[in-house]
């Protein structure tokens, strides 16, 4: 309740007299709103993000730029309208300094305007990267610690092109991200597209009709995008249909630390693309993965790594401004510098506030203790800029 005493006007006044009243400033906490899916079939992803963001808070000693900070988690229930509502609640009622999270592109697109435009609050997407926000709708209040949707499949396509795969069958769910993923792989893979199927999202769980089509089309490879629980279902049915072992499967976002315990050995040998893998050899990453494993007994997922980075990015801006976030222009300028150690190694922002980063090819293997995990096997793209950056008018 103490917080209520310091409304925005009070804080602004206090800032003007910053030197005179630093103790009061230092005590009011920085608030971070975190919108993710914490219920329903995809709740495991939200849980992984929450654990990683909490770990980032722990690593920061609970402080950003000398001020304590708190993370307020909200459940979007995997629905755009609920996500929008929760985002509005965070900026209007809780008056948070940053909003982050967002697994799903359709949830992010619904929530963007109320946060960045109506409330002039900085939003850091820790996962979703719909093409619109990278291009024409790019926004000074929007930052990403993940990728633009097209990029990961582009990396996969590039790898398959180099590998000499002749024809590819594409499958993805029918929503904003699914369309971006299909477009992405087609940007770099120049071979024949043996067929493409969009499936109903999120309620189609049976892929029998599509698998029969794949069998008839006889492609060299199958490319899929089925995040979370759907990836488990797809792999199960792919193997039940007898296609596994006949036609190699390539994936983006369909095999990760969250789905592996359910996919088990079915995931072995299935290559995927990702901008972060748990074995990337930098100190920040080693610390993140080791501490996460010690606490929860499992490997963190890329969703978690991106959430960890999102908190660290905010902390870097707060650090540079000594905890004074009242001047939005200054905060944005500091955010843009990306002056923090990302768990993925080199990290900087492009003109549209999306990262310029590397993409790796990962394989599923067993670690020393027999636990399934992902391992980097190749670098598919270095310092990649997303294809929509040129359509964004920002500099």
């Amino acid at each position: 309740m103490k917080i209520k005493l310091f409304g925005p006007a009070t804080i602004a006044a206090a800032t003007a007299l910053a030197i005179a009243v630093p103790p009061a400033m230092a005590q009011s906490p920085i608030k971070v709103g975190f919108v993710t899916t914490l219920s329903g079939s995809q709740a495991a992803i939200g849980e992984d993000m929450r654990r990683s963001a909490d770990l980032a808070r722990e690593h920061l000693g609970g402080k950003m730029g000398g001020r304590p900070f708190e993370i307020i988690y909200e459940d979007d229930s995997f629905k755009p309208d609920v996500g929008k509502q929760k985002s509005e609640k965070l900026v209007q009622q809780d008056k948070v300094d940053f909003v982050t999270g967002y697994i799903w592109s359709h949830v992010l697109l619904a929530s963007l305007k109320p946060v960045t435009d109506e409330a002039d609050t900085i939003l850091v997407s820790a996962n979703a990267g719909p093409s619109k926000i990278a291009g024409e709708l790019c926004n000074k209040n929007f930052f990403s610690t993940s990728w633009q949707n097209d990029q990961t499949p582009m990396a996969m396509g590039e790898y398959l092109q180099k590998k000499g795969v002749k024809s590819l069958y594409l499958m993805a769910p029918n929503y904003a991200a699914g369309k971006d993923m299909m477009a992405g792989v087609k940007r770099t893979f120049k071979g024949q597209i043996a067929g493409e199927d969009y499936t109903k999202w999120p309620d189609q769980l049976d892929f029998s009709a599509e698998l029969a089509k794949i069998r008839a089309a006889k492609p060299d490879g199958v490319f899929i995008f089925y995040p979370g629980a759907h990836g488990v279902q797809f792999l199960t049915q792919y193997s039940q249909s007898g296609l596994k072992g006949q036609i190699p499967l390539y994936q983006v976002f369909s095999v990760d630390a969250i789905t592996l315990p359910q996919q088990k050995d079915l995931a072995l040998g299935i290559l995927g693309a990702q901008e972060w893998v748990n074995d990337l050899p930098n100190d920040q990453n080693k610390r993140f993965v080791a501490d996460f494993k010690k606490k929860h007994g499992t490997y963190p997922s890329f969703y978690g790594a991106q959430s960890y980075d999102a908190i660290m990015l905010m902390a870097s801006a707060a650090e540079a401004l000594k905890g004074d976030l009242s001047n939005k222009d200054k905060v944005r300028a500091e955010m843009k510098k990306a002056n923090f150690k990302s768990v993925r190694g080199d990290f900087k922002f492009g003109n549209n506030n999306f990262p310029i980063e590397n993409f790796y090819i990962q394989d599923t293997v067993k670690d020393a203790s027999g636990m399934l995990t992902l391992k980097t096997v190749a670098t598919a793209m270095t310092a990649a800029v997303d294809p929509f950056a040129s359509q964004c008018p920002m500099k």
């Binding site: 079939s41 495991a44 049976d206 008839a216 488990v232």
Partner: protein, 304 residues
Amino acid sequence: MEYLLLQILNGVQLGLLMFLLAAGLTLTFGIMDLVNLAHGSLYMMGAYIAWTLIAWTDSFVLGALLTLPATFVLGIVVERVVARRLYARDHLDQVLATFGLILFFNELVRVIWGPAGKSIAVPRFLAHTIEIMPGAPYPAYRFAIIVVGAAVALLLAWLVARTRVGMLIRAGASNRRMIAALGINIELLFSLVFGLGAVFAALAGLMAAPVTSVKIGMGDDILILAFVIIVIGGIGSIKGAFVAAMLVGQIDIIGRAFLPDMLKTFLSPSAAASAAPSISQVLVYVLMAGVLIWRPTGLFGQRN
């Protein structure tokens, strides 16, 4: 040719699964005049109970067989505690109360089994493919769904057409008041029908589980389709539910398997690929509208 056969089998498998779910729904609606939105929750409970029992017995078949009496008891309890109080009330009250049941069951599952989904592995002896025709392998497990589904459909047909209980069920569906007036223990009949419906829903849920997965709200998506089926088939008619489920299964597969290619003849490939799922989603409702115009009480419904 092989391709066509595989797709027809896919449609039959989906249809049989839907039939199991629709059979219980059409009976409770037809006989007790109860709109039971929570029927999908029984489907979900079947899958979760099966998950527990399979883990406990370490055998898919044993666990699945134990699930059936367990869900029968669950069905009876739901009938005695909640459903029974709703028969005399109007449909809006029933919708409200059974919607409450959905929320209750979803929360119950979250408390007992946690928010993350569970997966049931395909039993080892069915984890291979069967060559239906040379060059047309079909997953043995899906084939088993077809066999079990067809067997249950036959059993149900026999039960309804040839036994005394079936006679009462049919009588109840056509004139509820009359059989009560004739001194039949209607309370017992209602309990029995509700329990039976729960068993069929649970069977559908546990058989679908290894193909999809066990998760909260898994019955809610599929319930709407089950309602469409009983409306197409005619409320209270098992035969109607069967025919309609088969039709809906085939239409769903046609929409997914053949529609994109048909659309490609006059649309660009990517436009066709993204339009097809939306159109195929609507097809079943178009069928329902068509049937209702032609026969307002459904294909096999009672005509007044």
